[in-house]
Structures are given as C-alpha cells and as structure tokens.
Amino acid sequence: MPPKSILKNSAVSTNAPPASSKPVNPRHLETAIHHARILEQRKVVERQVLDSIITLLDFPSTADADPKQPSAADARQFRDFMVPFQPSDYDSLIEERNIADKCGYALCPRPKRKAPSTARKQFVDTAKGVEIVDRKVLEVWCSDDCARRALYVKVQLNEEPAWMRQGGVGDKIELMVENADEHHKALPLRLKREAAPKAPAPKDEDDIAAAWAARDDALADLALERGEKPGRLSKANKDLMTENIKERVVASKPPVAPSLNEGQSHMAIEGHVPKTDAATAEQDEDEDPQDWDKHLPG
C-alpha cells in the first residue's frame, strides 16, 4: 500500500468554484435581472437615437425638398425619429449636421449660412443695436425661417430620457409646416375603438368574456401610461410583486408591562434583581483577605 500523501489533493484546482456555494436567492436574481433589463433598454434607446441621427444626417431624401412643405413621408419619419430624443440629443443632431455643412433643420436640404467674414466674432445688427456674436452661432441655419421651424420642434421634446419616460406625454411631435393637412391625411388613422355595442341578449358567458376583455384593455391602457410600446419589454415586473399578502402572526395575548415575580420585588433595584449566586461565588474566591500579596516576590 503506497504511503498516503498528507498534501492537499492536487486534482482540486483552486480555480474551481466552491462546491458548497449557497443556492441563489430567487428574489435577488429577479431584482438583478430587472435592473439589467432597464440598463439594456437604455442602451437600446441610445443606439436608436444614434441611428436616427445618422439617418437624419442625409435628410431630406430629395435635394429639392422645401422645408416649408416637406414631403409627407419625410415629415412622418422625422416625427417618429424625434420621439425618443431629448433636447440635448437634438442639439447633437444640429451640431452633426453643421459639421456636414448642412442647415441644422433636418428637413432643409440647403447648406448652412456663411458668415460675412471668417473672423471668430461677428457684428450683427439687431433691433437693440449691434451685437457681437460667435461665428458658430451665425452658421447654424440657412435662414431665420429654418431656425424657427427647428426650434419649434426642439421645445416639444421631452427632457426626460426616453428609457425613464412615463407614457402619454410628448410622444406626439408637431411640425411647423404649411401643408399640415396632407400630413394628417397621410398618417395611418388611429381612431379609438368605439365602445362595443351592447349585446342584444346578454348571457353570463358573454358577460365574463366582456369583463376579461375590459380588464385586458385596462391593462393595455396602463401599460401605455407607463410609456411602454406594444411588443416592448414590460416595465412592470410582476415577479417582484407578490399578490398574496401575508398578515404577520398576531400575538395571542395582548402585551402587558413587564412585572416581577412575587417574592422578588423587595430585592429589585430599579426593577433589576441582582443575581445572588454570583455574589456568593465571588465571596468564595475572595475568602483569603491576604490573597493579594501571594504573587509578590519575596
């Protein structure tokens, strides 16, 4: 029989995960996943904004488009793109378009205006007199009209980032256009469903089905109010909420003030009864009064 090694079994590597790891608390796991999903949603939104800006760099689709009367398709796409934007994102869009030497308004095909000279600061005549402004400020738009139209969009944008938005607010962007009628016609009609006409002969089953349908509708409305889109990840985490509410165990006896046992009350000092055996034990130890000099040398 070979001698048995006293060393650790080398087959077990230190890299192996500890075998007796605790089972994961499902609630912690749920919470972690919930937050990870929120982060993921944020990434999706940021990516979406970036893609929109890249697309809007080459807007409008035709070179002879008129910012006053954009084509219906362009206008609709622009409006859809604007929904997840924050004002700061819109500023980046303007900046990027200016770098590409275009007017800051995404529906305008013209190049940006050139300042009269290449100096860094420029004189501008305004109603209040002459003002000195940065050249950059002058070279943002192709005309004052475009500036007005672009800022008209900007003020409608929601300051809240899209992944934190509550729904129902700011998901409708209006454009300042002169052919507004065309756009509204071009939009897909989104009429609210009329309330279902009452069934002529109400039955129990129909009632139940109608009740469930009403509940589903209400849930969908609630989801919309939370800012969810159909098909997107739900923000309401059902798993983190438990529907069974448990009462705490009720004490059977009503609570009473603490009271001492009978016969002890005369020993109590401010409600505390000193232990008598401890006192006697100490006395036993201290029985020799000359104990203290035993350890002294000499």
């Binding site: 890299n15 940021e46 990516r47 970036l50 800006i53 890249i54 980046s92 900046e95 990027e96 770098i99």
Partner: protein, 235 residues
Amino acid sequence: MDDRENYGASMIRMWRVYRTAKQLCFDRGYQMLEEETQIPLAEFANKFMREDGEPDRGRMHFSCQPTEAMLAKYAVPPTAKDPNPPPQIGNIWVEFNADENVGLKQLRDYMQHLVNGSYYNGIMVCAKPMTGMALRLLRGSAGLEEGPKGGVDVFVEQDLLVNITKHDLVPTHILLSRDEKSQLLERYRLKETQLPRIQTSDPVARYLGLRRGQVVKIIRRSETAGRYASYRWAI
C-alpha cells in the same frame, strides 16, 4: 536647437504629435525603424510643410504592419473547430484629421476607409475633441460589423504632444500574450478576476491599445527589491 526658430508654432506642434504617434506604433510592436521615431524637425518640415508654413495634415497619414513578435503576442490558441486561427492584430492606419470639428460624418468615412483597405484597426488624431455622438458611435463600434475589426482609437493632438510613457513616473507596461497570461494565472493559482485592474481608458492603456481581458505587466523600481513587477487586468 536653433532651427526651431525657423518654423511656426503649429509646425513644431505637429512635429511632436507626429513623432509621438510614430513612437506609439513602435511601442505597440509595429514594424518601424528606430530612426523613424526620432524624425528631426527639419526633415519633418521638408516632408510635410505647405508653402504657407503650416503643416499639411492630409499627407501625414501612414500605415504599419505588425512585427513577428507582435503577431505572436496576439496569437489565439487553436481550437478543434478552428485549428489555425488568425492573430487578433493586423495592419494599422494612422490618420491626422485636418478638420476643425470631427463628427459622425468624418468618423464614418474613416471607418469606411479602414474597412475598404482591410486594415485591422486605425488611429485617428484630430485637432479638437470629437462630438458626443461620434464618441457614442465609437463606444458601440468595437463589436460592430460596420467598423474595422480592431476598432478605432481616437486621440486629440493635445494628448500626443508628449510621450507619456517617457515620463519618469510612468513605469514600464508590458503586454502579456495569452500564453503568458495563462502561465501567470497558473503560477499564482489565480482567476483573472482576482488580478488588480486597469481601465482601458487609462492613458497608458490607450497608448498601448489595451483591450478588455488583456493583462499588462508593470515593472516599477523598488528601493528594497530593485524591481517590482505587478500585473493589471484591463477592463
């Protein structure tokens, strides 16, 4: 150096940036002669000065090939599925952007150029910091199909005026290959998560182009031991 008086400030500035960019490629392990990293100002001006005395950034671009040692360092161990994997490095393209503002448009053009020229990665040196959206594109582009495989490093000229690794207080950083990393982990019986870390946004990590998961060996002078080596895991 009396010849400095003959050149404008922007010329001298660009010369220093160019020199640091060359040194950066040399230190990362690309094929380059030692002399190239120490190009004298007169020669630089000869090559890249326009008539008006300004540097011509459009002509300053260059490309490098990795050395054998660098290819070995970035080699990937073969697997059963892929018995002969290509190393995770390739030719690099360094460009100096002359535009005042660099936005999405320039960055995407640059990426397109890298992909067309089948460069593995690129370095873009721009005069001013990029716009926020361009940085966002850059962050997301490492694993993206539209950009080059190795991603794009963006430096501002200001950052390359001096070579930070030449500073007295910056210790030597040496990138470990995959083999060396696994040997290290075995020697010290570590998991890689147990190593100290370094951010990939760290100036030296950016200089060396570290990627997530790589390990650098940092060698410091030590009063007691002469040299002291420590390791950092890039995250």
